[in-house]
C-alpha cells in the first residue's frame, strides 16, 4: 500500500495536466439576507483530492448542497464534466456522476446495510418495476449482479458479515464507511465527503485517511473533501480551498495554503495573525 505522502506526490506531478472535472463559476447562494456563498470559483481537477476547509459556518456544506442542486443557487454556474448542473434535480446530478456523504451520517436507518448499498445501485439496475413482478430474466440477472457488487463493496469497506444488520445498529465507524460505500455504489466520477472523520479518535482518523486514498486509487475517482482535521488535509490533499464566510480566501497546494496570511487570520483571528508575523 502506498503511503499517503507518496500518493500525494505522485499525483502532484500530474496535476497540471489533469483536466478540470468540476467547475463552479461565481457561485453565489443567498438565504434571505445571509450570503452563504459569495462568487466562489473552484476548479476540481480529475483524479485529485481537493479539500475544502474553513471555520464553522464558512459555507462548506452549502457548497456541497449547491453542487448537488439540493438548493437552488442564487447566481453563478456549475459545470461537471461536459454538463451544466444548474437547474437539474439532485437525481440527475447523481446520474451525471456525483455522489456525496453527509456531515451527520444520513443512512437509511430502517433497512439493512446491504440494502443501503443496493439503494445506491439504483441507477445501475436497468430493469423496470413490472419486470420484478413477472420475475423476468433480465431482472433476475440484474439483481444477482447488484448483490454481488454490493457484497464486494461491503468487503471493501470492511463490513463483510455485517450486511444483514440494520444500518442503525452498526457502530459509528461502520456507519461512516457504509455511507461512503453507498456513495461508491452509484459509480460516481466525483465523490464528495463531508467531514468523514467527525467524531473520530486519532487512530480512526489515520485509518480513514488511508481509506480515502485507497478509494481514490481503487475506484479511480476524484474526491472533494470537507475536513477539519488539518493533519489529514495536509497529508492527502492535492489542492486546498479555504472558505471563510462564504468567500474563497485562499487556494493552492497544502503548503501554500498553510502559510497563507488570510488563512491564519481566518482560523486564529487577527490578533494571532499579528503575533505570528514576526516569528
Amino acid at each position: 500500500m502506498t503511503t499517503p505522502i507518496k500518493a500525494a506526490q505522485r499525483l502532484g506531478e500530474t496535476q497540471e495536466l489533469a483536466p478540470v472535472l468540476l467547475r463552479t463559476s461565481d457561485l453565489t447562494m443567498r438565504f434571505g439576507g445571509l450570503t452563504a456563498l459569495d462568487k466562489v470559483n473552484v476548479d476540481v481537477r480529475r483524479g485529485s483530492i481537493h479539500s475544502v476547509i474553513g471555520p464553522n459556518g464558512a459555507g462548506k456544506t452549502t457548497l456541497f448542497n449547491c453542487i448537488m442542486q439540493a438548493n437552488r443557487i442564487s447566481s453563478g454556474d456549475i459545470h461537471f464534466a461536459s454538463e451544466r448542473l444548474v437547474g437539474l434535480t439532485p437525481d440527475k446530478v447523481a446520474a451525471a456522476g456525483i455522489a456525496r456523504t453527509y456531515q451527520n451520517i444520513r443512512l437509511f436507518t430502517g433497512i439493512t446495510a446491504i440494502e443501503n448499498l443496493l439503494v445506491g445501485m439504483h441507477r445501475q439496475l436497468k430493469s423496470h418495476w413490472w419486470e420484478a413482478v413477472i420475475n423476468s430474466a433480465r431482472c433476475r440477472l440484474d439483481e444477482k449482479k447488484a448483490h454481488e457488487e454490493a457484497c464486494e463493496i461491503l468487503n471493501f469497506i470492511g463490513l463483510s458479515g455485517r450486511g444483514d444488520m440494520l444500518a442503525r445498529n452498526l457502530s459509528y465507524g461502520d456507519q461512516r464507511r457504509l455511507e461512503i460505500g453507498r456513495a461508491l455504489c452509484t459509480k460516481p466520477k466525483l465523490l464528495m465527503l463531508d467531514e468523514p472523520t467527525a467524531g473520530m479518535n486519532p487512530r480512526e482518523i489515520t485509518e480513514m485517511m488511508h481509506f480515502i486514498l485507497r478509494i481514490r486509487d481503487v475506484f479511480n475517482l476524484t474526491i472533494v473533501l470537507i475536513e477539519h482535521q488539518m493533519r489529514l488535509v495536509m497529508q492527502v490533499s492535492d489542492t486546498v480551498t479555504v472558505l471563510d464566510h462564504g468567500v474563497k480566501i485562499a487556494e493552492g497546494d497544502p503548503a501554500h495554503v498553510k502559510s497563507h496570511p488570510a488563512v491564519i487570520e481566518a482560523y486564529l483571528g487577527r490578533a494571532a495573525h499579528r503575533q505570528e508575523q514576526p516569528a
Binding site: 437525481d91 447523481a94 439493512t112 440494502e115 439504483h122 420484478a132 453507498r182
Partner: protein, 567 residues
C-alpha cells in the same frame, strides 16, 4: 413499617409510601369502570352471556379490570408478600367503592338527560338486582376478590399463569362466539355430540365451560412441557423453517377455502369483507408502509373503482351505455377499466402533493379525499354519478353461466385477487422499486441524491396503491350491487390505516391479522358496532405506545427488535 417509609421518604424519593400505589391503581381502575359505564359499552357487555344465565361479559369485564388492578399492584409493589396481598386487596376495595359511588350517583341524581347510558337500569344490573345496600356490598366483595385473584395469578409460575390465562381465554372465545361455533358444529353425529356436550341453544353451559377450560389447560401444559424439553435439545435449522413456512401458508389457504363452506354464508360475508380490506390494506401498505406517504384520502381510489364498475356495467339511467356509444360491459371486461381508472386517479392525486412531506401530506391527502366525496355527493355531479341516491342494479360477475351471487363465491373471487395482489406486493417489496420506496421513506433527500427519481417512484406508489384499492372497490360494487357516496366516507380510510398500523406496517401477514381483528371481529360482534371506532381510536394509541411495530411486524422490523434486544 408504613410510617417508617413515610419518614424516610425524603431520603428515598423513588419509593412511594405503601398506600399511594393501591390508591392510585384503585382510582384509575374505578374510573375506567365508570368510563365504560358512561360510554355505554358496559350495558352491552351485560347483555351478552359468556356462560348461559351464569356469567355475562359485563361481569367478566369488571372482574378482569379488578384483577388487572390487583396484578399491577402485585407487580409494582416492592413490599413483602403479605403486605403486597393487602395492597392488592385495598386497591380492589377502592375500585369497588368508586363503582358503588357511581351506582349511588345514578340512583340519586338524574344523569340521564346528559349521559344517555347512565340509566337506573344500569345500576340495577350493576347491583345484581339485590337492592342498593346488598348490591353495593357485593360489588365491593367481588372487586376485592378479583383483585386478590389477579395478585395470586402474578405470584404463580410463568408457565402455570400462561396456561390458566389462555384456558380462560378459550372459555371466553367459546362463550362469546357461541353462535358461530354452534353453526360450524352443525354437521355429523360425532361433531353434534360435542356441541351438545358444551352448548345449549342459548350458549355455553357451566359444564361446557368447565370442559373447555380443563381441556385447554391440559393441552397447554403438555405443550409447554414439550417446548421446554425441545428447547433444551434441538435448534431448528433454517432450511426446514422455510419449507414449514410454505406449508403453513398452503394450510392457511386450504383453511380459508374450507372455512366458509363449513361456517355458513354469514361468515362467508364477513370473510369477504375482511379480504376486501386486506386488498386495500396491501395497497395502502405500498404507500404508507413502504414509501412512507401517509395517505388519508385512500378511500377516493376505492370509490373510483366502485363507480367505474357501476358506470360501465349497471343497468341504470346513469350507466355510460345509456347516453354514449360505449357498450354495456360485464364485470370482467369492466374490471381492467376500473383498476386503470383508479390508478390514473392515484397518479393525478399524487401529482399536486408531490412536494408535500410528512404530517402535511396526511392533511393534504385527507383534504383531497374529502373533496372527492363532496364532489360525488354534490348536485353538480348528480347527472353523472347519481348524487346521494347512488347508482343501482350493478350485475354480479358470471363465470360461464354460473353467477357469483352469494357471498361465499364472491369471497373466493376476492381471495384469488388477494393472492395475486399479495404476490405482486411481495415481488415489488424486494425489487429495485421497493428499495427505492423504503429509501424515500427513511430519507427523501438522500434518496434523491443517490439518483432515485422521486417523482416517478412516488407516483408509482400512489398509482399501484390506488390500483389495489380500485380492485377492491370494483368487487365491493358488485357485492352490494349498488354504490352510494355514503359508503365512501373518511372512515374507510381510517379503517384501512388502522388495520395496517395494528397489524404491522410494511408487513403482508400483518395486514391480514389487522384486517381480521379490525374488520372481521366487529362484523362478528355486531351489537358492539357503535363502539367500533372507539375501539380503533384506543387501539391506535395503545399500539403506537406499546408495540409501534404492530402485532405481526415485517421480518425487517423483527430483525430490528432482535438486534435491539441484543444491544
Amino acid at each position: 413499617m408504613q410510617s417508617a417509609t413515610q419518614h424516610l421518604s425524603w431520603t428515598k424519593p423513588l419509593t412511594p409510601p405503601a398506600v399511594v400505589l393501591p390508591l392510585k391503581t384503585g382510582i384509575i381502575t374505578g374510573l375506567l369502570a365508570i368510563y365504560s359505564a358512561a360510554v355505554g359499552i358496559l350495558k352491552l357487555f351485560f347483555e351478552r352471556d359468556v356462560i348461559v344465565d351464569t356469567l355475562t361479559l359485563g361481569d367478566l369485564f369488571l372482574a378482569t379490570l379488578a384483577a388487572c388492578c390487583g396484578a399491577y399492584v402485585w407487580r409494582k409493589s416492592t413490599q413483602a408478600g403479605h403486605i403486597r396481598a393487602a395492597q392488592a386487596f385495598a386497591a380492589g376495595l377502592i375500585a369497588g367503592l368508586i363503582l358503588v359511588g357511581l351506582v349511588v350517583a345514578v340512583t340519586q341524581l338524574n344523569l340521564r338527560w346528559m349521559f344517555t347510558a347512565l340509566s337506573a337500569d344500569l345500576s340495577r344490573t350493576l347491583t345484581y338486582k339485590q337492592g342498593a345496600l346488598a348490591g353495593s356490598l357485593m360489588i365491593i366483595a367481588a372487586s376485592m376478590s378479583a383483585a386478590l385473584c389477579g395478585a395470586l395469578l402474578m405470584s404463580m409460575s410463568d408457565s402455570l399463569r400462561r396456561s390458566l390465562l389462555w384456558s380462560m381465554a378459550c372459555v371466553l372465545i367459546a362463550g362469546v362466539f357461541q353462535e358461530l361455533i354452534q353453526i360450524s358444529l352443525r354437521f355429523g353425529g360425532a361433531v353434534a355430540a360435542i356441541r351438545e356436550l358444551l352448548y345449549v341453544w342459548g350458549g355455553l353451559t357451566v359444564q361446557g365451560a368447565a370442559i373447555v377450560f380443563f381441556f385447554a389447560f391440559v393441552v397447554l401444559q403438555a405443550l409447554d412441557a414439550r417446548k421446554r424439553r425441545g428447547a433444551a435439545t434441538t435448534l431448528k435449522s433454517p432450511a426446514p423453517k422455510a419449507r414449514s413456512q410454505l406449508a403453513s401458508a398452503l394450510l392457511l389457504i386450504a383453511v380459508l377455502i374450507a372455512f366458509p363452506l363449513v361456517a355458513g354464508s354469514y361468515i362467508g360475508q364477513v370473510m369477504m369483507l375482511v379480504s376486501l380490506f386486506v386488498l386495500m390494506g396491501m395497497g395502502l401498505n405500498i404507500e404508507v408502509g413502504l414509501a412512507g406517504l401517509l395517505d388519508m384520502g385512500f378511500v377516493a381510489f376505492f370509490a373510483v373503482g366502485a363507480y367505474t364498475i357501476a358506470l360501465l356495467t349497471a343497468d341504470s339511467e346513469y350507466a355510460l351505455a345509456q347516453d354514449t356509444f360505449l357498450p354495456s360491459l360485464n364485470f370482467w371486461s369492466a374490471l381492467p377499466f376500473a383498476v386503470l381508472a383508479a390508478t390514473l386517479v392515484g397518479v393525478l392525486f399524487g401529482l399536486p402533493v408531490l412536494s408535500v412531506k410528512g404530517d402535511y401530506l396526511a392533511v393534504a391527502t385527507l383534504g383531497l379525499g374529502e373533496i372527492v366525496r363532496v364532489l360525488v355527493i354534490s348536485d353538480a355531479a348528480k347527472p353523472v354519478l347519481g348524487g346521494a341516491q347512488g347508482i343501482l342494479q350493478i350485475p354480479k360477475p358470471h363465470i360461464g353461466s354460473f353467477e357469483l351471487a352469494d357471498p361465499v363465491s364472491l369471497f373466493y373471487l376476492t381471495l384469488v385477487f388477494v393472492l395475486v395482489a399479495a404476490y405482486i406486493a411481495w415481488r415489488l417489496e424486494g425489487s429495485r422499486l421497493g428499495r427505492a420506496w423504503m429509501a424515500i421513506r427513511d430519507d427523501e433527500d438522500v434518496a434523491q441524491a443517490l439518483g432515485i427519481n422521486l417523482v416517478q417512484s412516488k407516483l408509482l406508489a400512489y398509482g399501484l396503491g390506488a390500483a389495489f384499492a380500485g380492485l377492491a372497490g370494483a368487487i365491493f360494487a358488485t357485492m352490494l350491487t349498488s354504490v352510494y357516496p355514503h359508503s365512501f366516507s373518511l372512515l374507510i380510510s381510517i379503517n384501512v390505516l388502522a388495520l395496517l398500523i395494528v397489524g404491522g406496517m410494511g408487513s403482508l401477514p400483518g395486514v391480514i391479522v389487522g384486517a381480521i381483528l379490525l374488520i372481521g371481529l366487529p362484523e362478528v360482534l355486531r351489537e358492539f358496532d357503535e363502539y367500533r371506532y372507539l375501539f380503533y381510536g384506543a387501539l391506535l394509541i395503545v399500539v403506537m405506545r406499546v408495540r409501534p411495530e404492530g402485532l405481526w411486524p415485517s421480518p425487517q422490523r423483527k430483525r430490528e427488535l432482535r438486534a435491539a434486544e441484543k444491544g
